[in-house]
């Protein structure tokens, strides 16, 4: 608290403060730009919601492939490893650039050229790699005795995953999953590279038109505002889960 006050006083009394205040905290600019940015923000929300569904499914698929046992499945395991290494390694911004400008340049019949489409695909491809590792961590954290017990009851490997391992794994990985989804929510701004006008690009437009940075603040605020309910929702999910697990048991 003391530290915060000291920092605040230092900032406010710095020689450039008046200029910074005018450039970043101009009330009239905020009010003028906010409606447009809010409108553009729906594009971010849309990209996020669509991408999230695909990521959850695709990432689980990759994690399951990676956990397949036996030498028969080596090619599939290898494929999953290569996928994760590749797309976790390339900066998201490059994946979006390459897909968004590269694929349409091929001029293939029937292949979409929409920047919104390819931007979203780019995010799905990259975040699936991240999230599949989170899933894998969850799957591997379930004690091997669980899956051994399931197999001894006559469940196949697939059934054991479906009914025993994955449900337990998912519960444990909710916080890191949320981490990735907040990351995804913020990275939706990268789709702007391809020409899509979303919240960040809209604020950039306003900033360049007026040489005033306040619209960036408005965008930052929107991103924070949408993140907080998600965090509280996760907290609630975890708390509910804990209550159920402990129901009637030792507290």
């Amino acid at each position: 608290m003391v530290l915060l006050t000291v920092v605040a006083v230092l900032v406010v009394r710095s020689p450039g403060w008046d200029e910074v205040k005018q450039a970043f905290f101009a009330r009239d600019q905020f009010e003028k730009s906010f409606p447009d940015i809010l409108g553009a923000f729906w594009t971010n929300v849309k990209i996020f919601l669509i991408a999230e569904v695909f990521i959850l499914v695709l990432a689980l698929g990759i994690a399951v492939l990676r956990s397949l046992p036996g030498p028969v499945f080596f090619p599939l395991r290898a494929l999953a490893v290569v996928y994760v290494d590749l797309f976790r390694g390339i900066p998201t911004i490059l994946v979006i650039y390459i897909l968004g400008f590269g694929v349409p340049a091929l001029q293939l019949q029937g292949v979409p050229i929409s920047p919104l489409f390819w931007g979203t695909v780019g995010l799905i491809v990259v975040y699936s790699a991240y999230v599949s590792e989170v899933y894998r961590a969850g799957i591997e954290s379930v004690h091997p005795s669980q899956s051994a017990a399931a197999r001894s009851l006559g469940l196949t490997h697939g059934q054991a995953l479906r009914y025993v391992v994955v449900p337990q794994a998912v519960r444990r990985i909710i916080p890191p999953l949320l981490n990735d989804f907040i990351g995804l929510q913020k990275d939706t701004a990268l789709v702007a590279l391809l020409g899509v006008v979303e919240a960040f690009r809209q604020s950039q437009i306003e900033v360049a038109a007026t040489f005033n940075y306040t619209p960036y603040l408005a965008t930052a605020l929107l991103f924070v505002l949408i993140t907080i309910p998600m965090a509280r929702f996760t907290d609630w999910l975890l708390a509910r889960d804990k209550r159920r697990q402990l129901a009637g048991g030792v507290r």
Binding site: P104, A105, G195, A209, T210, F211
Partner: protein, 289 residues
């Protein structure tokens, strides 16, 4: 005493003569009140100028031997903007060697705080709202916007401003080209906005947009070099006040006053017109009504 004074005066005169002689022989008379030593500069005795990298034709030209400058090296003095910059520098009493150029991205040019240049020159349009953040010089170029489309696409047949409404248009972020689309064309599809003109050009090539709106002089390079299958659909009529390019200065920098005097002199003696004809000289595309 008198002889000493005369001697001093003679010595001063001789110095002045040698000073002029070592400079450009055609150095015009200095601007009153703008002696080189009195100018408010970033580095004493030197002009430090900023522009975007890559510096695109036809505003910059002549190529680059320096690996730091991607497309054109401004210090070769070729292209409209460096040519104008060196003319201004000459009027203020600077030699070619006393002018240096640094690469500064457009979005950095108006960031708050001390600017890393004396002036910034990269086709920046003067706008009232922008004047709150920086000081602009007088106009060194009056500009029109234009639309570029692929020759084979339907947009190439458009002959009116209203005819553009149904096409997907694109522009670079922060440009008046974008403002023109949203304010005066008002297309039915929301326009695409790119980080750079290069990205916008790629989108045009990929048919992700039908038409690219840029300032008219830039269309020459796009249609000739970047996308040879494209052509200028037409120039866009001026709406409201004439759009002008100005040099960007630190807000309140007194250097702007002296530069303005130099620009006015360049305009009245026909230098700007001559440089325009030499580097941008391009007419002919129809104006869309």
């Amino acid at each position: 005493m008198r002889t000493v004074l005369v001697g001093l005066a003679l010595a001063a005169f001789a110095l002045a003569v040698t000073a002029t002689a070592t400079g450009d022989p055609a150095t015009p008379a200095a601007i009153p009140g703008c002696a080189k030593g009195s100018l408010n500069l970033l580095n004493d005795g030197k002009l430090t100028l900023g522009t975007d990298n890559p510096a695109f034709n036809p505003w910059f030209a002549g190529g680059s031997k320096d690996k730091d400058w991607e497309l054109n090296d401004p210090s070769n003095g070729k292209g409209y903007e460096p040519a104008v910059a060196y003319e201004i520098a000459k009027r203020l009493g600077f030699t070619r060697a006393q002018v240096t150029w640094d690469a500064v991205p457009f979005l950095r040019s108006f960031a708050p705080g001390k600017k890393p240049f004396d002036w910034y020159m990269a086709q920046v349009s003067v706008a009232p709202a922008r004047k709150k953040a920086v000081t602009f010089s007088a106009s060194y170029y009056n500009v029109n916007q234009a639309v570029v489309g692929l020759k084979a696409a339907p947009i190439s047949k458009v002959r009116s401003l209203a005819g553009l409404k149904r096409y997907k248009l694109g522009a670079q972020v922060g440009t008046t080209s974008y403002a023109y689309i949203t304010k005066f064309i008002r297309p039915s599809q929301s326009p695409a906005v790119y980080d750079s003109n290069a990205d916008a050009v790629a989108a045009l090539k990929n048919k992700q947009i039908d038409g690219l709106v840029v300032d008219f002089p830039s269309t020459g390079y796009i249609t000739a070099v970047q996308v040879p299958t494209s052509s200028v659909v037409g120039r866009l009529p001026q709406q409201g006040a004439q759009e002008v390019f100005g040099l960007v200065f630190q807000k309140g920098n007194s250097l702007a006053n002296c530069v303005n005097k130099a620009i006015r002199a360049l305009r009245s003696d026909g230098t700007l017109r001559r440089l325009d004809a030499r580097w941008l000289g391009k007419t002919g595309a129809p104006i869309l009504k």
